[in-house]
Assembly symmetry: D4
Homo-oligomer: 227 residues x 8
């Protein structure tokens, strides 16, 4: 059964963010592209918040797949995006070497499309004994049926299927220590939480106290995304 | 395979109701909030009907997650709601001690959000050999895809995924003995059954006899929720 | 064009609540029955809050259509429900006399099913020069296509199609005077507002002040529907 | 028939942005809140791009409706948000005076909720001979049925129902002059266009030329919302 | 406005059932074909119950459109189905003569597909002063968008859009006289009513009395469709 | 893994049809009741076509659950429907004895609701080594989420989840021998096949030959359900 | 009311196909792009089949909107596509001159996006007394809500909203003369008809005769799109 | 667990394309028939591109199931389609011999319907130790629930569920070698990619270079399906 041996911690995992290219985002629409963009950025910032190593790849960026999302490059200026000829990230020696260099055995994979770029390395790594997570909502496909079939294939094979908020929460572990990551990333990237957090900040009598707990004292109103 | 060793009985299980807080209910909308509220209350009253121990927790109730649903507190005035700093209920010593104090090995878990508050303790308890049920419709998430992925993750790991009506029915066991629990809780918390039960009460020639079986003799028309 | 001559006020309208019978509620499911029940009750309590005359009718209550919702009868103990043999409420002399006795020319109609019990008197009254509103979400049908076609028919004929919350808001007119009606009825009958209002009550620094404005001082936590 | 007398131009209209408050955004979810936020901001920036007067209002901001979206206040630091006790914006003397002060007869209205805050002033202004547009996707409601009924009511009454992108395009008129507004606002606030525009910028041989036309020369990659 | 001058009665209307051919039913699936079949039969039996004249047509029955539904032919053995070369039923001299021979000015039209076979004669007849009803749920199209656009086109042109149950109810007028038509046709052709009626017959103390009213005394359990 | 040891044959299985009561059908609507009725009847006639033993049960038929579908009783006049007080069919000695009396180890279970009446005996029988099939589309629930969760629970436990057409096809095995069962049952109970079969019969050059193969020579037009 | 003065004929209308550019097709996805492509091609071939004049335009083809669909250019090699700087086709002197040169007063408009490229010229032409049709399914938008609002706006203004199959059928008028256009265009561009037509051709006893009627004698199997 | 032992390569698998008959396509509509046709053709061309052996079967082609899709026959003129009397392809000696003759142990199965024609041989082959893939989107069923249940059944049994694009990508392995297969097949059979590829070809400065990589130099604009 696909029961992980232990919880995710900042020290035991590596994020594989594969082919988050803007060309792919325009024709893989099983998740609304606006929400997909936010899911990918929320997931990427989770890595940054917990200093988790990130490996990024591209496939055919000079063609209609297009370049990597510019925001991702800006977030990780020091990460070299590895372009590869192999469809399966795992079959590319440079990509694989990057994974092995981290020495970590828990792989947290996302990619466009789920059915190819996330699924193939997930299954290959599983065969070699890695513990593999696929972050389904930071992936997308041509249509929802494809995602549905792919997630079943992955779950049946032993991959742990999960979501970006769940990964963020598992890594946060303790709200007194890391609540600010949950609060700010959800407010920036989940529309409902944006509304609820700002409403609460506007009315809560104890807002100052909690903002202090969140490290937000003196902070301007939370996320003004898009301005 | 995730086949339970035995049926649920009032004596062999404990309900973990985690973070059913009104703030969370306003932004976790994958289940319609009106139905979610009724699912949670139906599940809670199931515990009360069969005198099953209930453990309740909160996470950051002074912030936008808000306080526990007032109806839950009113239902269980003697249950102390345990606030915890740990995201995972299972990692909180006080919460866990409360579970262990019951001596029961079947955990019936619900929580907001499914992907975090229900899923994390479910997986942790599973690793330690508990038999774990997650009551999916007494939980909710930011969107249905998240619930879908989470339920697959849980089922693949060995958790028994279930629903509040199924738990109620399994505990009832015998309609001659416990039919009144099924009848009244469904009429109060499932809109279609409300209509059907009241229509039947209004027309059935044997209504008095059956009302007697249900312990409803002299009872006013069944549930006038919301008045 | 279907532009009302003036706004709804407590003095210029009468509510026709036609055939809100529990038997009909069990097989007219284009609106989820739980939400339908709450929409009907919210609409009925709006009449009560503003002392608007209510006329209630039934059609074949001794058959599978069943009796009037018990909560409606309890809300309006002094209103005599008029049973009629005519399908069209407007063709029934007693029902029509009750409307004319109010002397009001704005009719706010709801009924089960929309396509028959609400639509027929709406069209008949329109032909006689009444200004007619149909409260679409306090009605229901066998399936959504039927509601869709009916609403188009009504709008094209000159009926003003509307919703129960809109009627409540139009009658409230001024939140300083009638905000408590909006606040309490929405919290009791709209799941999302239930959550938001209770979350706000739990955190708002100025809750006491606003509760005073709402006439809720000393009030227990707002709506514990279903307990 | 609801055929406008002329096209919208920057000189002949005023935007009424009514009750875009974060509390309302958390419980009015008929449009996904993330997309709603972007629709509202795209619409607001349209006003700014064409120097169209904007009038903003609030209803009960000290209660659960919450304060105005902070991004809106930041966009229009010089606009005074008018709080009013009247449910109907049109019945509030100060709000109405602000409209009349512009001397414009084409009103472009958006508000939360559609069924109340947008619909009521739209119908009132129509009765007084204004030409009224309602921007449906910069509004939201408790559920989609309510929006559906409201839009039918408005269209049948003579209101011109429209969308924020359509308003932006109508005001732009000529892509050689105003193409940059279309290009940048869509890329910032429509997920699919974000992807397509960035993919095109990454591959187009004539990107520099077109970026010049857009006034984007030397511009960093287009919208990095959320960073 | 599309407000009918009077109610439908058995004496003032004629049913035009156009191209209800089994070949068309297999590729026009915007309504589920099982429900479509029942809607058409329910509508046809309404004509039979009230002795309303029926005119039936076909288009290209020797090709993939196929022959008329065999059940329709069996219901109306004396009605000659008019095959025509004209797409628009109204342009066919024989079809039109059949309509004129009835001398009736209210046309109740259904057809496959809505967008062609129902819409074209509806618009043509309207131009000549007939009062035209289109029974939308006894029609179907390639996809729901087509139906949606067609119904808007018809409603905007002045056609009265309606549904088969609404027509049945309007013709029934009085439940004491015609309740048996409503009761039996709904139980045969609406799944939810089938269940509710049979449940009520099984439990109602006054079933015998009401069955007497329905002319069902000694009647076997109501509709055993499909046996 | 839930791989059956062998194919279903008429000799190796027994059908358990549990609580197909008309009262339950009116409030369990996750499958459209019209289609549900047809799925149940198609499944029942499959048993009859292949002379497979059928065991039928009821739960609380004197209450709102109502009596067994009258068509089912008519199909199996010799089968005694076993009413039981136990929620779980498997815990009822008489029901269980009926299963054991057949000596068969493959159980094909359907029931209302899936989450209770089908799921409970399926899991109990699995624990005792039976090979268990659940026919999901001859079951229904309060809402689709419940069915979804239940099917996952069953599949994860080792139950073979299937559908009535699949069971019919597996038992038919050879179309030359049993094609007539497939042809007639699908035409009677699947709306699309009704249309396609009748269209084909109306146009096929080889219709007579194939009707001969199906044993339909001289047969009237296939299924005239509902007449 | 929006009732056309007469039927469409090949002699009284002109098709305006505006901005059917591949870049727009990739981000306007309210209709599935595969079906959208087929709807546009089916509509274009309708013009060709009946020798109806076609006017084509583009907006900003050197940018992300991209060039006109290559199949459209191939279909109409002699039509010059008019690129324009004006958002509204009607405001572009060259585009408008092309319309006026035809001398026709019935405009059949389609365009990407509906809310801009189809709606703007439709409303402008209406103001000048043209009879305007918008072919809604040969258009698309960012999301379905936008299309919905736009179609209501158009219908309320007096535009005749329609679909490409309806236009094809209206122009065909007589199946004996033009049935082959209906048969071949539907088989090429509507998936369900493709299946039904080919199934019928494979089995129909009178296939040869009808193929003769269709002018398909000796024709290879109908539409092998994509080979 | 259903983890494949190795990746698919052109040398280790055989495609079983079972009962892709046009009659079945007209009544199995859980996938839109237009997209289904394209999925099937995309999958078939994948076999052709990589010279993978294909085995094709039919069931009752002389009846309403109809003949094999004509495009499939045209693609594989040398493959003899095996008609069989057995419902289960695996039970047919000739069909099975064709599989065994290839000597391959990885079976890539698609068929109409999923629940019968794909599922039965998949389960049978699994029992005999083959590694079995089912290409879910090149299959279809009467309704989506059936597909959903079937895919769960297959995944739980150990079948690898997958999609045609995923199979194409896995076989392509290296985009420098096989990118042209991905590029052309997606552009021909996925609507969104058609749009994106053509938009990119129209604007990309490096289009010539990449077209060279794709072997498209001098190639006319990519796929003009349907012309």
């Amino acid at each position: 059964m696909a029961l992980p041996s232990s919880e995710l911690t900042p020290d035991n995992c590596v994020f594989l963010m594969i082919d988050h290219q803007v060309g792919l985002m325009q024709f893989l629409t099983s998740i609304d592209p606006m929400q997909l963009k936010h899911n990918i950025l929320g997931h990427a910032k989770t890595a940054k918040a917990f200093s988790i190593p990130v490996i990024m790849g591209t496939s055919w960026p000079q063609g209609p797949n297009g370049p990597t999302m510019p925001e991702l490059k800006a977030l990780f200026p020091d990460v070299q995006v590895i372009d590869r000829p192999y469809v399966n990230f795992w079959n590319d020696p440079a990509s694989r070497a990057a994974v092995e260099a981290t020495g970590r055995r828990k792989l947290v994979i996302s990619g466009l499309a789920t059915e190819v770029c996330a699924a193939f390395p997930a299954l290959s790594a599983l065969r070699e004994g890695y513990e593999v997570y696929v972050v389904v909502d930071a992936c997308s496909d041509f249509n929802p049926l494809i995602t549905d079939v792919t997630v079943r294939r992955l779950a049946a094979a032993g991959v742990i299927v999960t979501t970006w908020v769940s990964v963020l929460a598992e890594l946060s572990a303790n709200t007194q220590v890391n609540g600010r990551h949950i609060g700010t990333l959800l407010a920036e990237h989940m529309g409902q939480y944006y509304a609820a957090m700002n409403a609460w900040l506007g009315s809560a009598g104890n807002a100052d106290e909690v903002k202090g707990q969140l490290g937000l004292t003196g902070h301007p109103p939370i996320p003004q995304a898009g301005l």
